[in-house]
Amino acid sequence: MTRITELPVEERVLPGNRACAGCGLGIGLRAVAKALEGRAVLTVPASCLTVLGGMYPVTSVQMPWVNCAFPSTAAVATGIAAGLRATGRGEELTVLAMAGDGGTGDIGIQALSGAAERNDDLIYLCYDNEAYMNTGTQRSGSTPVGARTTTTWTGKRENPKDVPRIMEAHRVPYVAVTSAAFPTDVYDKVAKARSMRGLRYLHMHTSCPSGWGFDPALSVRLGKAAVECGIVILYEVEHGAFRLTGRSAALAKAGGALKPVDEYLAAQSRFRGLDAQAKAAIQAWVDERWTEALERHARGK
């Protein structure tokens, strides 16, 4: 595993961009860009990432970047990859589609599923801030149960959909879950994905102070807490082989005990007013998924 001091020093995501203070997406994108060493073209739909990228005629990201319509990310990326091949530039650049959780698991899932079924040659990275943030924190399919959003005023009633598992079901060569709170985990997974061909799917958890309601200074701490309580599990599935990685692997190795979810929930205003029963339901959901992950880790698939 790459150590933080070993990451390339060159920055392609410039400071002073339009993301909120403490945005986990900005932190994650820095690591993604380092792993790609500028040899990539991004495909970006409407999202907070568009805002981070900047408004014409200036941009904050020093990599070729193609904006696209909200539902179209995977298909536009497929087109860019095909277009580069057709014009003799297929080996020059990695095509990276990068979209939010709404742009991936909700409105963009048709295009993504199509690209995955065809095993198109691109990396698709979903950054998951667990709601439609760009439009003002409305619920998405990735919003956790209990979270208040501007369309779930009393807390969302449903558990989030498991998009990485949906991608696994397509049997693409690589599926990984990572977190921007662990930049080296992000870096290693993007670097590995970059060395492979076909459709590679990464799911990156990104903490969102504005949408979740917490102090921006605590963004990394909160992202880490999500992994330590098992809300987010870091893993990769490479050609069907499953393994936990990074902090989640360390937790498994130390006996598999997780922190209770309470502290993580209490740190965010979106979970305010959850009663004991609701918290117990979230804990049960976490425990079930963690048990399953530990079993898969042990089995290696």
């Binding site: 990228g53 970047w65 095909a82 295009a111 065809r118």
Partner: protein, 406 residues
């Protein structure tokens, strides 16, 4: 040059093949499907060195074209009806992004209710999106127009929609002269570099948020806002009037075949009434006009080949001194009028000596358009014109009346 017996769909596929398209993405829908089936067979047989991507929706078909065209490839797709409606978001994107994509539309009605047959409601419903829209009279024109479309699109960085009537042309076989690849290569050079290049050495943010106001770039240069980009797009579309006409002339010089530039005309001399339409109806109307001329009735035909940009000057010029123009639309702006009729009326408004413009709707959902019905419509227009009638309600040609209940 060889003569082949081709359907309209095969003619479209041949046009794309001769244009040496590099990326094709498409999704099946009647009556367009044979276009992409044909191309996919050629790609699989190694006869056409292109990337063929069998996408999972029309939205993605246009998305793939957008991506590939942004990367610099020559791209092609085809669709019809609900497929076109489904990709509408991306039709606007392709135009606003100024990508020279060429798409064939085998014109078909829109649901609900389901109906797979011909009218032109589909392409008419996206006429405002900023594409060049060309309509074909027969299968030869389909092939010729697809090749010309790339020339036009790549000169102006605008997408071009090549429309032809579903079934009436798409599934009807007729002799088509297929030019040699060498002849087409001489006419159509490889695609020039795109407006904005994907280049890690000079990374660009392509298609970002553009605000209402002007803004300075990193070098301090003032750049336009959204309105300036849209104005430039509009001006490019207007300049297409010249480019479409020039390209048709060049094609005629290189192949000896006239496809018409902006409009096609038939027996306009001294015409009292001129019949106006787009697509295969134009071919039909020339026969109707010939029949009426034989009876001593001075009727001419004006076919609209280029519907967007709308050839205002060409229409004004051809129609000056005519008593009435009778426009046959295979589409309707519900609650108002047929789209071509409404556009023509606007184009002629305030012009001295302009004809009265009468609108007729016909052929919706594949309703048969008979020569008799067209002839009757022309004669009634003539009678009204002679009586000095300026305004008429939309006439329904071929609509069944009393004995049918809804």
């Amino acid at each position: 040059m060889t003569v082949r017996i081709l359907t309209g769909n095969e003619s479209a596929a041949w046009g794309a093949r001769l244009a040496r398209v590099q990326v094709v993405a498409a999704y099946p829908i009647t009556p367009q499907s044979p276009v992409v089936e044909t191309i996919s067979a050629w790609v699989q047989a190694g006869e056409l060195p292109a990337e063929f991507i069998a996408v999972e929706s029309e939205h993605s078909a246009m998305s793939v074209c957008i991506g590939a065209s942004t990367a610099g490839a020559r791209t092609f797709t085809a669709t019809s009806s609900n497929g076109l409606a489904y990709m509408t978001e991306q039709i606007w994107w392709a135009a606003g992004a100024r990508l020279p994509i060429v798409m064939c539309v085998a014109n078909r009605s829109l649901a609900a209710p389901w109906n797979v047959l011909n009218d032109q409601q589909d392409s008419m419903s996206v006429r405002d999106a900023g594409w060049i829209q060309l309509h074909c009279r027969d299968n030869q024109e389909i092939l010729d127009t697809v090749v010309q479309a790339y020339r036009i699109a790549e000169r102006l960085n605008l997408p071009v929609m090549v429309c032809y009537d579903g079934f009436l042309l798409s599934h009807t076989a007729m002799p088509v002269e297929v030019p040699t690849p060498e002849a087409v290569d001489a006419f159509l050079p490889p695609r020039p570099a795109p407006l904005q290049v994907i280049d890690p050495a000079d990374p660009r943010n392509i298609g970002p948020v553009v605000i209402a106001d002007r803004r300075r770039d990193a070098g301090g240069v003032l750049r336009g806002g959204y309105m300036e980009l849209r104005a430039a797009h509009h001006e490019a579309l207007l300049s297409a009037l010249d480019v479409v006409a020039e390209t048709a002339d060049e094609w005629e010089r290189s192949t000896g075949r006239s496809t018409g530039g902006l409009v096609v005309q038939h027996r306009l001399d001294d015409a009292e009434v001129v019949l106006v339409a787009a697509g295969s109806l134009v071919t039909q109307l020339t026969l109707v006009a010939d029949g009426l001329r034989d009876r001593g009735v001075a009727v001419g035909v004006l076919g609209i080949r280029c519907y967007r940009p709308f050839p205002v000057e060409a229409l004004r010029e051809r129609l000056s001194g005519v008593r009435a123009a009778l426009v046959f639309d295979k589409a309707l702006s519900y609650g108002y009028a047929g789209p071509i009729a409404a556009d023509l009326r606007a184009a002629l408004y305030g012009v001295d000596g302009a004809p009265a413009v009468y609108g007729a709707v016909c052929g919706l959902g594949g309703r048969e358009v008979t020569p008799e019905a067209l002839t009757d419509a022309a004669l009634s227009a003539l009678a009204d014109a002679r009586a000095g009638v300026r305004e008429r309600a939309v006439a329904w040609v071929g609509r069944l009346s009393e004995e049918v209940s809804r």
